[in-house]
Structure formats: C-alpha cells, structure tokens
C-alpha cells in the first residue's frame, strides 16, 4: 500500500538519498514531505497526515530528539512510527532516541538494504 513519508534532515541531498532508498526498498510512496529541521516538520504535520517519519538527530533550530518528544501532542503524528537516520552512533544516542519514541535507528553511512531492514518491520508492526 502506498504510504506518505516525512523526511527530516538539514541536508537536502540526504533527504533525496533517503527518499531513493525507500523506493529501492520497495516502499511505494504516495507523498513525500521534506523538512530541514524539527520546527519545519511540526509545521508540515499540522496540515499533512503521514504514515512514516524518518528523522536526523543533529539539525539546527530544533534537533531530531526534541522533535520526536513533541510528536505525541501532534494529531497527525499519533501512532506514526519514527526511524532515526543519523551519524550519531553511540549506544547512548540509540537508547535516548528509543526512549523518546523512535522505533528504529539507522546509522549513516547506510546502504539501501539497511533502510529496508529497519523500515519494513516498523511499517509491518504499524499495519
């Protein structure tokens, strides 16, 4: 089933790579929303329901952890799985992200296979 994805990363090149990796993983995207930081992502979510959020951690204005902490209060994000995609690779960051509500964690650099490996189970659990 086609899904609506929100990709949050301060690099437009990285957003494009993530979008392409989702397609390579066989995930059919009906809509892709892109935001450069947490504030932009929250603004997008006000008017646009999504099925999956992929989010970087280190971003200006509002970082990824701060952003996902705010998601329970956002109507269009309730129950939406979040997968972090970040250069931050420590166990402490993983634990922090998962405790903030993330369902998956992908370390950069990543392959399309790793995206598939982490995102498909998350989407399967949601449906």
């Amino acid at each position: 089933m086609p899904i609506r994805a929100l990709i949050v990363d301060d690099s437009s090149v990285m957003r494009k790579i993530v979008e392409r990796s989702l397609a390579q993983a066989g995930i059919v995207l009906s809509q892709v929303f892109q935001a450069g930081n947490g504030v932009e992502a929250l603004a997008l979510l006000k008017d646009n329901p999504v099925d999956l959020i992929l989010c970087d951690i280190n971003m200006p204005v509002m970082d990824g952890l701060e952003f996902i902490k705010k998601l329970p209060g956002v109507e269009n994000a309730k129950g939406v799985p979040v997968v972090m995609i970040t250069t931050e690779g420590s166990e402490a960051h993983v634990v922090q992200a998962l405790s903030c509500g993330a369902r998956g964690y992908i370390r950069k650099p990543f392959t399309p296979e790793q995206v598939k490996e982490h995102v498909l189970p998350v989407l399967a659990r949601k449906s």
Partner: protein
C-alpha cells in the same frame, strides 16, 4: 575496539587512527555513493579547490576536512543525488559537506567512548585554494589520500587535544 584514553596512551601521535580514518572514508563512499576508492600511485598534487570541514569538540577536539577538485565534488553530488553530472547545481556544497560529516561521524563511532563523548559541528564548505588554515596545535594533521574515480581526495584530521 580501544577506548579513547587507551588509544591516546598507546600512541600519542595518534598515527594508529590513520587506518580508521581510511576505513571510515571508504565506507562512506561504498555505502552512500556506491563506489570503491583506490590508493593513488604517486603523491602528485592537483588543485584541490573545494574543502569541507567539520569541527570536533569534547573528548576529541579538532577539525576533519575533505579536500578535492571541484570536478570530484560535483561527481559526488551526482552520485548522491542519482542525477547526471551536468544536472548538478548548488547541491555540490551540501553533498561534500554531508560526505565530510559522515566521515567524521563514522570515524568517531569506530573508537569506543568517542561516539558519545565527541560532538560534531555542522559542515562548512570553502571553495578556492588560495588560503592557509592555521590551527592551535603544533602536531601535523593525520592525512589519508585516496582516489575517487581517479580524482584525488585528501582527508585530514587535525587534532587539538
């Protein structure tokens, strides 16, 4: 994997980090750009007129930089975006900045304790080669030289502490 203090104690010149820096760079190009880097045969210098830099702060302070020709930077953007070389535009800076960021992140993740004890700055990209970078350290930078599609890449880590 050794801890930061063990690594520093084992080799005060941090020369042991050069292989880690090389592996960290190779992995970024293999996974994100789908290409293998090779080792240059000689040491001939070309005009490396694009420089991406990421600052490191915390347990390890310093600057990691990736230098290359403009053509190599455009080729990186082309590979990352999946578009033809002639379609690449202003995304070049973003692309090489992100490559530098991933090399720095991947490098620190390879040293136990450094992943959480060292923070990265957002990348800065400089175009042009007529500049001198001065650092508050008297030790020479750790340097790795590799070829990307036959074009020279110089990855440097200047450690401050």
């Amino acid at each position: 994997m050794k801890s930061v203090s063990e690594m520093l104690a084992a080799n005060s010149s941090q020369e042991n980090w050069i292989p880690l820096l090389e592996v960290a760079t190779r992995e970024v190009f293999e996974r994100m750009l789908g290409c293998q880097l090779s080792v240059p045969a000689g040491t001939e210098e070309t005009c490396l007129d694009v420089t991406a830099m990421v600052g490191l702060a915390g347990q390890l302070c310093g600057v990691l930089s990736v230098r290359c020709e403009a053509k190599a930077a455009a080729l990186m953007a082309s590979r990352m975006l999946g578009v033809a070389l002639d379609k690449v535009g202003p995304e070049v800076s973003d692309a090489i900045g992100e490559v530098c960021n991933m090399v720095a992140g991947n490098f620190k993740n390879k040293i136990a304790g450094l992943a959480e004890g060292c923070m990265l700055s957002p990348p800065t990209v400089i175009t042009g080669s007529d500049y001198v970078m001065r650092s508050q350290t008297d030790s020479p930078p750790l340097e790795v030289r590799l070829l990307f599609e036959g074009l020279l890449l110089v990855i440097s880590l200047q450690v401050h502490s």
